[in-house]
Amino acid sequence: MSALLDPTSELQPAQREALPRPQSLSDKRVALLDISKPRGDVFLDHLESRLGELGIDARRYIKPTFTRVAPVDLKHQIVSECDAVIEALAD
Protein backbone atom coordinates (compact mmCIF):
# COMPACT_ATOMS: atom_id res chain seq x y z
CA MET A 1 0.00 0.00 0.00
CA SER A 2 1.22 3.48 -0.81
CA ALA A 3 -0.15 6.91 0.03
CA LEU A 4 -0.79 10.08 -1.91
CA LEU A 5 -1.28 13.54 -0.48
CA ASP A 6 -4.67 15.13 -0.96
CA PRO A 7 -4.33 18.10 -3.34
CA THR A 8 -7.73 19.57 -2.47
CA SER A 9 -8.73 22.04 0.20
CA GLU A 10 -10.16 19.05 2.12
CA LEU A 11 -13.17 21.18 3.00
CA GLN A 12 -16.73 20.08 2.71
CA PRO A 13 -18.48 22.85 0.82
CA ALA A 14 -20.99 24.63 3.01
CA GLN A 15 -24.47 23.40 2.19
CA ARG A 16 -27.04 26.08 2.75
CA GLU A 17 -30.72 25.34 2.41
CA ALA A 18 -32.48 27.90 0.27
CA LEU A 19 -35.21 29.75 2.12
CA PRO A 20 -38.72 28.62 1.17
CA ARG A 21 -40.17 30.63 -1.69
CA PRO A 22 -42.81 33.08 -0.52
CA GLN A 23 -46.35 31.89 -1.20
CA SER A 24 -47.36 35.40 -2.16
CA LEU A 25 -45.62 38.70 -2.79
CA SER A 26 -48.39 40.80 -1.20
CA ASP A 27 -46.98 42.83 1.69
CA LYS A 28 -43.48 41.85 0.57
CA ARG A 29 -40.78 44.11 -0.80
CA VAL A 30 -38.91 42.75 -3.81
CA ALA A 31 -35.33 43.64 -4.74
CA LEU A 32 -34.60 43.85 -8.46
CA LEU A 33 -30.88 43.33 -8.88
CA ASP A 34 -29.15 44.46 -12.06
CA ILE A 35 -25.68 42.91 -12.35
CA SER A 36 -24.64 45.46 -15.02
CA LYS A 37 -24.92 43.08 -17.94
CA PRO A 38 -26.25 44.48 -21.22
CA ARG A 39 -30.07 44.60 -21.35
CA GLY A 40 -30.48 43.54 -17.75
CA ASP A 41 -32.06 46.96 -17.20
CA VAL A 42 -34.60 46.31 -19.98
CA PHE A 43 -35.68 43.09 -18.31
CA LEU A 44 -35.92 44.68 -14.87
CA ASP A 45 -37.76 47.76 -16.19
CA HIS A 46 -40.40 45.39 -17.48
CA LEU A 47 -40.59 43.42 -14.25
CA GLU A 48 -40.77 46.58 -12.17
CA SER A 49 -43.67 47.84 -14.22
CA ARG A 50 -45.53 44.50 -13.94
CA LEU A 51 -44.95 44.33 -10.19
CA GLY A 52 -46.17 47.94 -9.89
CA GLU A 53 -49.39 47.00 -11.67
CA LEU A 54 -49.87 44.26 -9.06
CA GLY A 55 -49.28 46.76 -6.25
CA ILE A 56 -46.07 45.09 -5.14
CA ASP A 57 -43.29 47.25 -3.74
CA ALA A 58 -40.04 46.81 -5.67
CA ARG A 59 -36.65 48.43 -5.25
CA ARG A 60 -33.83 48.59 -7.76
CA TYR A 61 -30.22 47.65 -6.97
CA ILE A 62 -27.20 47.45 -9.20
CA LYS A 63 -23.86 45.69 -8.95
CA PRO A 64 -20.88 47.83 -10.00
CA THR A 65 -19.79 45.15 -12.49
CA PHE A 66 -21.02 41.73 -13.52
CA THR A 67 -17.43 40.44 -13.50
CA ARG A 68 -17.11 40.38 -9.73
CA VAL A 69 -19.18 39.07 -6.88
CA ALA A 70 -21.51 41.60 -5.26
CA PRO A 71 -19.92 43.84 -2.62
CA VAL A 72 -20.83 42.67 0.86
CA ASP A 73 -22.43 46.04 1.67
CA LEU A 74 -24.81 45.68 -1.25
CA LYS A 75 -25.79 42.16 -0.19
CA HIS A 76 -26.40 43.37 3.35
CA GLN A 77 -28.48 46.29 2.13
CA ILE A 78 -30.70 44.03 0.06
CA VAL A 79 -31.15 41.57 2.92
CA SER A 80 -32.05 44.33 5.35
CA GLU A 81 -34.44 46.16 3.02
CA CYS A 82 -36.21 43.41 1.10
CA ASP A 83 -37.99 40.07 1.50
CA ALA A 84 -37.19 38.56 -1.88
CA VAL A 85 -34.82 39.23 -4.74
CA ILE A 86 -35.05 38.85 -8.49
CA GLU A 87 -31.69 38.98 -10.23
CA ALA A 88 -31.19 39.67 -13.92
CA LEU A 89 -28.39 37.15 -14.06
CA ALA A 90 -27.39 36.65 -17.67
CA ASP A 91 -27.72 38.26 -21.06
Binding site: M1, L4, L5, D6, P7, S9
Partner: protein, 466 residues
Protein backbone atom coordinates in the same frame (compact mmCIF):
# COMPACT_ATOMS: atom_id res chain seq x y z
CA UNK B 1 32.24 10.10 20.78
CA UNK B 2 30.27 8.95 17.77
CA UNK B 3 31.74 7.73 14.50
CA UNK B 4 29.55 7.16 11.43
CA UNK B 5 31.05 4.97 8.72
CA UNK B 6 30.16 2.63 5.85
CA UNK B 7 31.94 -0.33 4.34
CA UNK B 8 31.56 1.10 0.84
CA UNK B 9 34.04 3.88 1.61
CA UNK B 10 37.77 3.44 1.12
CA UNK B 11 38.61 6.02 3.77
CA UNK B 12 36.41 4.28 6.35
CA UNK B 13 38.26 1.03 5.62
CA UNK B 14 41.58 2.83 5.77
CA UNK B 15 41.00 4.26 9.23
CA UNK B 16 39.74 1.03 10.80
CA UNK B 17 42.97 0.73 12.92
CA UNK B 18 42.51 4.28 14.17
CA UNK B 19 38.89 3.56 15.16
CA UNK B 20 39.99 0.45 17.03
CA UNK B 21 42.68 2.45 18.80
CA UNK B 22 40.17 5.16 19.64
CA UNK B 23 37.68 2.61 20.93
CA UNK B 24 40.28 1.44 23.43
CA UNK B 25 41.04 4.98 24.54
CA UNK B 26 37.68 6.74 24.81
CA UNK B 27 33.96 5.99 24.94
CA UNK B 28 33.17 5.52 21.24
CA UNK B 29 30.06 4.39 19.40
CA UNK B 30 30.64 3.27 15.81
CA UNK B 31 27.59 3.33 13.54
CA UNK B 32 27.80 1.51 10.23
CA UNK B 33 25.46 2.65 7.47
CA UNK B 34 25.64 -0.35 5.17
CA UNK B 35 27.07 -3.36 7.03
CA UNK B 36 26.97 -3.92 10.80
CA UNK B 37 29.83 -6.44 10.51
CA UNK B 38 32.09 -3.56 9.47
CA UNK B 39 34.54 -2.59 10.91
CA UNK B 40 35.22 -6.22 11.94
CA UNK B 41 37.84 -5.23 14.52
CA UNK B 42 35.30 -3.16 16.46
CA UNK B 43 33.28 -5.32 18.78
CA UNK B 44 29.92 -3.64 19.10
CA UNK B 45 29.20 -1.78 15.87
CA UNK B 46 25.74 -0.26 15.84
CA UNK B 47 23.54 -1.12 12.87
CA UNK B 48 22.76 2.21 11.17
CA UNK B 49 21.15 0.85 8.03
CA UNK B 50 17.90 2.63 8.87
CA UNK B 51 19.95 5.87 8.77
CA UNK B 52 17.94 7.51 11.56
CA UNK B 53 20.99 8.76 13.47
CA UNK B 54 22.60 9.96 10.22
CA UNK B 55 19.42 11.87 9.42
CA UNK B 56 19.09 13.37 12.89
CA UNK B 57 22.77 14.35 13.09
CA UNK B 58 22.71 15.69 9.54
CA UNK B 59 25.62 13.50 8.41
CA UNK B 60 26.75 14.35 4.90
CA UNK B 61 30.16 12.66 4.73
CA UNK B 62 31.55 9.41 6.11
CA UNK B 63 33.59 8.95 8.16
CA UNK B 64 32.26 11.60 10.52
CA UNK B 65 33.58 11.82 14.07
CA UNK B 66 31.44 13.74 16.55
CA UNK B 67 32.42 14.75 20.06
CA UNK B 68 29.58 14.87 22.58
CA UNK B 69 29.91 16.84 25.81
CA UNK B 70 27.06 17.12 28.32
CA UNK B 71 24.72 15.58 25.78
CA UNK B 72 25.48 18.20 23.13
CA UNK B 73 27.69 18.07 20.06
CA UNK B 74 30.85 20.05 20.79
CA UNK B 75 33.01 19.24 17.75
CA UNK B 76 32.82 17.40 14.41
CA UNK B 77 35.34 16.10 11.89
CA UNK B 78 34.59 14.73 8.40
CA UNK B 79 36.92 12.53 6.38
CA UNK B 80 40.36 11.64 7.77
CA UNK B 81 42.76 14.41 8.76
CA UNK B 82 45.25 12.86 11.12
CA UNK B 83 46.27 15.97 13.02
CA UNK B 84 42.69 17.08 13.55
CA UNK B 85 41.65 13.63 14.80
CA UNK B 86 44.63 13.59 17.18
CA UNK B 87 43.82 17.06 18.42
CA UNK B 88 40.11 16.43 19.00
CA UNK B 89 40.62 13.05 20.67
CA UNK B 90 43.62 14.12 22.74
CA UNK B 91 45.51 11.05 21.47
CA UNK B 92 48.83 12.38 20.04
CA UNK B 93 49.82 9.11 18.35
CA UNK B 94 46.44 8.16 16.89
CA UNK B 95 46.68 6.56 13.42
CA UNK B 96 50.44 6.49 13.42
CA UNK B 97 50.65 4.24 10.36
CA UNK B 98 48.03 6.12 8.33
CA UNK B 99 48.45 8.86 5.75
CA UNK B 100 47.97 12.44 6.86
CA UNK B 101 44.82 12.96 4.84
CA UNK B 102 42.14 10.99 3.03
CA UNK B 103 38.84 12.52 1.91
CA UNK B 104 35.57 10.97 3.00
CA UNK B 105 32.69 9.66 0.90
CA UNK B 106 29.05 10.73 0.65
CA UNK B 107 26.80 9.57 3.45
CA UNK B 108 24.05 7.13 2.46
CA UNK B 109 21.60 9.50 4.12
CA UNK B 110 22.14 12.14 1.43
CA UNK B 111 21.90 9.91 -1.63
CA UNK B 112 19.39 11.23 -4.20
CA UNK B 113 15.83 11.12 -2.83
CA UNK B 114 16.97 9.84 0.55
CA UNK B 115 16.61 13.06 2.61
CA UNK B 116 12.94 13.28 1.65
CA UNK B 117 12.36 9.59 2.46
CA UNK B 118 14.10 9.94 5.82
CA UNK B 119 12.20 13.13 6.65
CA UNK B 120 8.94 11.27 6.12
CA UNK B 121 10.09 8.09 7.86
CA UNK B 122 11.32 9.68 11.06
CA UNK B 123 8.37 11.92 11.63
CA UNK B 124 9.94 15.24 10.85
CA UNK B 125 7.74 15.80 7.82
CA UNK B 126 6.27 19.28 7.77
CA UNK B 127 3.35 18.01 5.72
CA UNK B 128 -0.15 18.29 7.07
CA UNK B 129 -2.20 17.16 4.07
CA UNK B 130 -4.48 14.19 4.45
CA UNK B 131 -2.99 10.89 3.27
CA UNK B 132 -5.05 9.05 0.71
CA UNK B 133 -4.18 5.38 0.88
CA UNK B 134 -3.76 3.46 -2.35
CA UNK B 135 -4.41 -0.25 -2.02
CA UNK B 136 -1.76 -2.52 -3.48
CA UNK B 137 -4.21 -3.78 -6.12
CA UNK B 138 -5.36 -0.27 -6.97
CA UNK B 139 -4.07 1.78 -9.92
CA UNK B 140 -3.04 5.13 -8.45
CA UNK B 141 -3.50 6.88 -11.79
CA UNK B 142 -7.10 5.72 -12.03
CA UNK B 143 -7.65 6.72 -8.39
CA UNK B 144 -6.59 10.28 -9.16
CA UNK B 145 -8.96 10.48 -12.13
CA UNK B 146 -11.81 9.03 -10.06
CA UNK B 147 -11.28 11.58 -7.32
CA UNK B 148 -11.56 14.41 -9.82
CA UNK B 149 -8.03 15.72 -9.28
CA UNK B 150 -7.17 15.67 -12.99
CA UNK B 151 -7.73 18.19 -15.76
CA UNK B 152 -8.26 15.24 -18.08
CA UNK B 153 -4.60 14.37 -18.54
CA UNK B 154 -2.52 11.93 -16.48
CA UNK B 155 -0.97 13.30 -13.29
CA UNK B 156 2.29 12.61 -11.48
CA UNK B 157 1.24 10.86 -8.22
CA UNK B 158 1.86 13.28 -5.32
CA UNK B 159 3.76 11.01 -2.94
CA UNK B 160 5.27 12.45 0.21
CA UNK B 161 8.78 12.09 -1.20
CA UNK B 162 7.89 14.02 -4.34
CA UNK B 163 6.08 16.75 -2.43
CA UNK B 164 9.01 17.18 -0.04
CA UNK B 165 11.32 17.42 -3.00
CA UNK B 166 9.06 20.08 -4.55
CA UNK B 167 9.16 22.01 -1.29
CA UNK B 168 12.95 22.06 -1.52
CA UNK B 169 12.44 24.53 -4.38
CA UNK B 170 11.62 27.27 -1.87
CA UNK B 171 12.83 28.38 1.54
CA UNK B 172 9.32 29.35 2.55
CA UNK B 173 7.40 27.38 5.17
CA UNK B 174 4.95 24.75 3.87
CA UNK B 175 2.32 26.22 6.17
CA UNK B 176 2.58 29.74 4.73
CA UNK B 177 -0.58 30.93 3.02
CA UNK B 178 0.16 32.46 -0.39
CA UNK B 179 -3.34 33.72 -0.95
CA UNK B 180 -7.03 32.95 -0.75
CA UNK B 181 -7.77 30.71 -3.68
CA UNK B 182 -10.94 31.37 -5.64
CA UNK B 183 -13.65 30.39 -6.29
CA UNK B 184 -14.20 28.66 -2.92
CA UNK B 185 -11.96 31.25 -1.24
CA UNK B 186 -9.89 28.83 0.79
CA UNK B 187 -6.35 29.43 2.08
CA UNK B 188 -3.71 28.26 -0.38
CA UNK B 189 -0.77 26.93 1.60
CA UNK B 190 2.61 26.35 0.01
CA UNK B 191 2.20 22.66 0.86
CA UNK B 192 -1.06 22.34 -1.08
CA UNK B 193 0.38 24.26 -4.00
CA UNK B 194 3.42 21.93 -3.96
CA UNK B 195 1.12 18.89 -4.17
CA UNK B 196 -0.55 20.33 -7.25
CA UNK B 197 2.81 21.33 -8.77
CA UNK B 198 3.97 17.73 -8.40
CA UNK B 199 0.82 16.48 -10.12
CA UNK B 200 1.33 18.98 -12.96
CA UNK B 201 4.83 17.59 -13.58
CA UNK B 202 6.88 20.54 -12.31
CA UNK B 203 10.49 20.31 -11.18
CA UNK B 204 11.37 21.87 -7.80
CA UNK B 205 13.25 24.69 -9.53
CA UNK B 206 10.01 25.76 -11.22
CA UNK B 207 8.23 26.03 -7.88
CA UNK B 208 9.03 29.71 -7.15
CA UNK B 209 7.43 30.59 -10.50
CA UNK B 210 4.33 28.58 -9.63
CA UNK B 211 4.10 30.32 -6.24
CA UNK B 212 4.37 33.75 -7.85
CA UNK B 213 1.69 32.80 -10.38
CA UNK B 214 -0.67 31.69 -7.61
CA UNK B 215 0.06 34.85 -5.64
CA UNK B 216 -0.76 36.94 -8.71
CA UNK B 217 -3.97 34.99 -9.36
CA UNK B 218 -5.18 35.82 -5.85
CA UNK B 219 -4.86 39.58 -6.31
CA UNK B 220 -8.20 41.37 -6.37
CA UNK B 221 -7.50 43.24 -9.59
CA UNK B 222 -6.85 40.01 -11.47
CA UNK B 223 -10.32 38.80 -10.47
CA UNK B 224 -9.61 35.06 -10.86
CA UNK B 225 -13.16 34.26 -9.76
CA UNK B 226 -14.50 36.19 -12.73
CA UNK B 227 -11.87 34.82 -15.13
CA UNK B 228 -13.10 31.35 -14.20
CA UNK B 229 -16.81 32.01 -13.91
CA UNK B 230 -17.34 33.98 -17.11
CA UNK B 231 -18.92 32.34 -20.14
CA UNK B 232 -15.99 33.89 -22.09
CA UNK B 233 -12.86 31.96 -23.10
CA UNK B 234 -10.47 33.38 -20.54
CA UNK B 235 -7.72 31.58 -18.65
CA UNK B 236 -4.84 32.87 -16.54
CA UNK B 237 -1.94 33.15 -18.99
CA UNK B 238 1.48 33.26 -17.33
CA UNK B 239 4.26 35.31 -18.94
CA UNK B 240 7.69 34.95 -17.34
CA UNK B 241 10.42 37.61 -17.47
CA UNK B 242 13.94 37.87 -16.06
CA UNK B 243 16.95 35.66 -15.36
CA UNK B 244 14.87 32.71 -14.17
CA UNK B 245 13.81 32.05 -17.77
CA UNK B 246 17.22 30.59 -18.64
CA UNK B 247 17.88 29.25 -15.15
CA UNK B 248 14.98 26.83 -15.46
CA UNK B 249 15.17 26.34 -19.23
CA UNK B 250 11.94 27.97 -20.38
CA UNK B 251 11.10 28.29 -24.05
CA UNK B 252 10.98 31.77 -25.61
CA UNK B 253 11.79 30.62 -29.17
CA UNK B 254 10.29 28.29 -31.73
CA UNK B 255 6.74 27.14 -30.92
CA UNK B 256 6.82 29.36 -27.83
CA UNK B 257 3.03 29.32 -27.49
CA UNK B 258 2.87 25.59 -28.17
CA UNK B 259 3.86 22.31 -26.61
CA UNK B 260 7.20 20.67 -25.96
CA UNK B 261 8.92 22.49 -23.10
CA UNK B 262 8.47 21.03 -19.64
CA UNK B 263 8.68 24.30 -17.73
CA UNK B 264 6.27 26.15 -20.02
CA UNK B 265 3.78 23.29 -20.04
CA UNK B 266 3.81 22.39 -16.37
CA UNK B 267 3.93 25.81 -14.68
CA UNK B 268 0.73 26.94 -16.39
CA UNK B 269 -0.86 23.58 -15.65
CA UNK B 270 0.10 23.78 -11.98
CA UNK B 271 -1.73 27.09 -11.62
CA UNK B 272 -4.86 25.63 -13.21
CA UNK B 273 -4.68 22.54 -10.96
CA UNK B 274 -4.44 24.84 -7.93
CA UNK B 275 -7.61 26.63 -9.05
CA UNK B 276 -9.28 23.29 -9.68
CA UNK B 277 -8.26 21.35 -6.59
CA UNK B 278 -7.68 23.94 -3.88
CA UNK B 279 -10.06 26.58 -5.20
CA UNK B 280 -12.72 24.09 -6.29
CA UNK B 281 -13.14 25.67 -9.73
CA UNK B 282 -14.24 23.06 -12.22
CA UNK B 283 -15.81 23.18 -15.69
CA UNK B 284 -19.56 23.04 -15.40
CA UNK B 285 -19.30 24.14 -11.76
CA UNK B 286 -18.13 27.69 -11.20
CA UNK B 287 -16.25 27.51 -14.53
CA UNK B 288 -19.12 28.47 -16.86
CA UNK B 289 -17.12 28.86 -20.09
CA UNK B 290 -19.43 28.31 -23.04
CA UNK B 291 -16.64 27.01 -25.27
CA UNK B 292 -13.35 27.38 -23.40
CA UNK B 293 -10.05 26.99 -25.22
CA UNK B 294 -7.09 24.56 -25.17
CA UNK B 295 -4.92 26.99 -23.17
CA UNK B 296 -7.13 26.36 -20.15
CA UNK B 297 -5.08 23.23 -19.45
CA UNK B 298 -2.24 25.64 -18.80
CA UNK B 299 -0.73 28.51 -20.75
CA UNK B 300 2.71 29.78 -19.82
CA UNK B 301 5.59 31.13 -21.85
CA UNK B 302 8.69 33.30 -21.56
CA UNK B 303 9.53 36.57 -23.28
CA UNK B 304 12.45 36.53 -25.75
CA UNK B 305 14.53 39.12 -23.97
CA UNK B 306 18.16 38.63 -25.02
CA UNK B 307 17.83 40.10 -28.52
CA UNK B 308 14.74 42.25 -28.12
CA UNK B 309 14.90 45.81 -29.38
CA UNK B 310 12.24 46.87 -26.91
CA UNK B 311 12.09 46.86 -23.12
CA UNK B 312 10.43 43.74 -21.79
CA UNK B 313 6.86 43.48 -20.56
CA UNK B 314 8.11 43.42 -16.96
CA UNK B 315 10.33 46.47 -17.39
CA UNK B 316 7.45 48.32 -18.99
CA UNK B 317 5.40 47.40 -15.91
CA UNK B 318 7.95 48.85 -13.50
CA UNK B 319 10.38 46.03 -12.74
CA UNK B 320 14.15 45.90 -13.25
CA UNK B 321 15.64 43.73 -16.04
CA UNK B 322 17.47 41.63 -13.44
CA UNK B 323 14.29 40.85 -11.54
CA UNK B 324 12.37 37.69 -12.37
CA UNK B 325 8.62 38.18 -12.58
CA UNK B 326 5.40 36.59 -13.65
CA UNK B 327 2.64 38.53 -15.33
CA UNK B 328 -0.85 37.10 -15.39
CA UNK B 329 -3.16 38.01 -18.22
CA UNK B 330 -6.74 36.81 -18.58
CA UNK B 331 -6.47 35.57 -22.11
CA UNK B 332 -8.58 33.67 -24.62
CA UNK B 333 -7.23 31.93 -27.66
CA UNK B 334 -4.35 32.70 -30.00
CA UNK B 335 -5.19 34.57 -33.20
CA UNK B 336 -2.43 34.68 -35.83
CA UNK B 337 -1.53 37.80 -37.81
CA UNK B 338 0.10 37.00 -41.13
CA UNK B 339 1.50 39.93 -43.07
CA UNK B 340 4.16 38.77 -45.53
CA UNK B 341 4.49 42.06 -47.41
CA UNK B 342 4.91 44.95 -44.98
CA UNK B 343 8.55 46.07 -44.85
CA UNK B 344 7.95 49.44 -43.21
CA UNK B 345 6.72 50.17 -39.69
CA UNK B 346 3.71 52.24 -40.78
CA UNK B 347 2.25 49.45 -42.92
CA UNK B 348 2.98 46.74 -40.36
CA UNK B 349 1.42 48.81 -37.57
CA UNK B 350 -1.75 49.30 -39.60
CA UNK B 351 -1.77 45.57 -40.43
CA UNK B 352 -1.53 44.60 -36.77
CA UNK B 353 -4.20 47.13 -35.86
CA UNK B 354 -6.56 45.80 -38.52
CA UNK B 355 -6.55 42.37 -36.91
CA UNK B 356 -6.49 43.73 -33.36
CA UNK B 357 -9.70 45.62 -34.10
CA UNK B 358 -11.50 42.29 -34.50
CA UNK B 359 -10.73 41.16 -30.93
CA UNK B 360 -13.92 40.19 -29.09
CA UNK B 361 -16.01 41.76 -31.87
CA UNK B 362 -15.13 44.20 -34.61
CA UNK B 363 -17.73 46.67 -33.36
CA UNK B 364 -17.03 46.49 -29.62
CA UNK B 365 -14.64 49.17 -28.36
CA UNK B 366 -13.15 50.04 -24.99
CA UNK B 367 -14.43 46.92 -23.29
CA UNK B 368 -11.66 44.38 -23.78
CA UNK B 369 -7.89 43.77 -23.60
CA UNK B 370 -5.38 41.97 -25.79
CA UNK B 371 -1.80 40.77 -25.77
CA UNK B 372 0.29 41.22 -28.88
CA UNK B 373 3.13 38.72 -29.26
CA UNK B 374 5.62 40.21 -31.72
CA UNK B 375 7.90 37.72 -33.48
CA UNK B 376 11.58 38.49 -34.17
CA UNK B 377 10.97 39.00 -37.90
CA UNK B 378 8.19 41.50 -37.24
CA UNK B 379 10.26 43.26 -34.59
CA UNK B 380 13.10 43.62 -37.08
CA UNK B 381 10.93 45.99 -39.10
CA UNK B 382 10.58 48.31 -36.11
CA UNK B 383 14.23 47.96 -35.11
CA UNK B 384 15.45 48.88 -38.59
CA UNK B 385 13.17 51.92 -38.59
CA UNK B 386 14.33 52.94 -35.10
CA UNK B 387 10.84 52.79 -33.59
CA UNK B 388 10.90 52.51 -29.82
CA UNK B 389 8.19 50.58 -28.01
CA UNK B 390 6.64 53.89 -26.94
CA UNK B 391 6.58 55.12 -30.55
CA UNK B 392 4.99 51.87 -31.70
CA UNK B 393 2.36 52.09 -28.97
CA UNK B 394 1.55 55.65 -29.97
CA UNK B 395 1.16 54.82 -33.66
CA UNK B 396 -0.75 51.62 -32.89
CA UNK B 397 -3.11 53.45 -30.57
CA UNK B 398 -3.93 55.90 -33.33
CA UNK B 399 -4.59 53.04 -35.76
CA UNK B 400 -6.87 51.44 -33.17
CA UNK B 401 -9.04 54.54 -32.80
CA UNK B 402 -12.08 54.81 -35.05
CA UNK B 403 -15.09 57.02 -35.65
CA UNK B 404 -17.93 55.91 -33.44
CA UNK B 405 -20.42 56.10 -36.30
CA UNK B 406 -18.71 53.08 -37.92
CA UNK B 407 -19.18 50.82 -34.93
CA UNK B 408 -22.45 51.84 -33.28
CA UNK B 409 -25.20 49.29 -32.84
CA UNK B 410 -26.95 48.80 -36.15
CA UNK B 411 -24.10 50.02 -38.34
CA UNK B 412 -23.42 47.63 -41.26
CA UNK B 413 -26.73 45.97 -40.49
CA UNK B 414 -25.27 44.38 -37.33
CA UNK B 415 -27.16 44.80 -34.06
CA UNK B 416 -24.02 44.44 -31.96
CA UNK B 417 -22.03 47.61 -31.47
CA UNK B 418 -21.51 50.69 -29.36
CA UNK B 419 -24.33 52.88 -28.00
CA UNK B 420 -25.62 55.34 -30.65
CA UNK B 421 -24.83 58.28 -28.35
CA UNK B 422 -21.14 57.62 -29.16
CA UNK B 423 -21.63 58.02 -32.91
CA UNK B 424 -19.82 61.36 -33.01
CA UNK B 425 -16.95 60.28 -30.72
CA UNK B 426 -13.57 58.80 -31.57
CA UNK B 427 -13.39 55.39 -29.87
CA UNK B 428 -10.30 53.48 -28.76
CA UNK B 429 -10.29 49.73 -29.18
CA UNK B 430 -8.77 48.71 -25.85
CA UNK B 431 -9.09 49.78 -22.27
CA UNK B 432 -6.34 52.05 -21.01
CA UNK B 433 -3.38 49.79 -20.16
CA UNK B 434 -5.23 46.88 -21.69
CA UNK B 435 -2.82 46.13 -24.54
CA UNK B 436 0.21 44.08 -23.49
CA UNK B 437 3.13 43.69 -25.89
CA UNK B 438 5.78 40.96 -25.65
CA UNK B 439 8.55 39.71 -27.92
CA UNK B 440 8.69 35.94 -28.45
CA UNK B 441 9.02 33.23 -31.04
CA UNK B 442 11.47 31.54 -33.38
CA UNK B 443 13.84 33.40 -35.63
CA UNK B 444 12.05 32.78 -38.92
CA UNK B 445 8.49 33.65 -39.89
CA UNK B 446 6.68 36.92 -40.51
CA UNK B 447 3.99 36.19 -38.00
CA UNK B 448 2.77 37.78 -34.85
CA UNK B 449 0.03 36.59 -32.55
CA UNK B 450 -2.83 38.17 -30.71
CA UNK B 451 -4.04 36.62 -27.49
CA UNK B 452 -7.51 37.94 -26.95
CA UNK B 453 -8.24 39.37 -23.52
CA UNK B 454 -11.16 39.70 -21.14
CA UNK B 455 -12.08 43.12 -19.87
CA UNK B 456 -13.23 41.98 -16.44
CA UNK B 457 -9.66 41.46 -15.26
CA UNK B 458 -6.58 43.66 -15.02
CA UNK B 459 -3.20 42.11 -15.83
CA UNK B 460 -0.95 41.80 -12.78
CA UNK B 461 2.82 41.39 -12.38
CA UNK B 462 4.60 40.10 -9.28
CA UNK B 463 8.25 39.41 -8.48
CA UNK B 464 9.35 35.79 -8.14
CA UNK B 465 10.87 35.07 -4.73
CA UNK B 466 13.73 32.62 -4.91
Amino acid sequence: MIAVVKRDCATCQLIEPALAELKRGVALQVHSQDDPSFPATIGDVIDERELELSYRLDIEIVPTLIQIQDGEESARLVGWQRDDWRSMTGMPTLGAGLPEFSPGCGSKSVEPGMPEKLAFKFGDTPLGARRVDVASQQDEHELMFERGWSDGLPLVPPTEERVLKMLSGTDRSPAEVIGIIPPDNVPGTIEKIAINAVMAGCKPEYFPVVLAAVEAACLDEFCMHGVLATTYFSAPIVIVNGPIIDEIGMNWGHNVLGQGNRANSTIGRALQLVIRNIGGGRPGGVDRATLGQPGKVGFCFAEREHDSYWESLAVERGFRPDESTVTLFAGGGVHPVGDQKSRGPESLTRSLALTLRTVYHGKVYGRTDAMLVISPENMRVFREAGWSKARFREELDEALTVDGSNVIAGADGIAEGMPPRLAEKRLRKFRTGGLLIVHAGGGAGMWSAIITGWGGSDAVTVAIQS
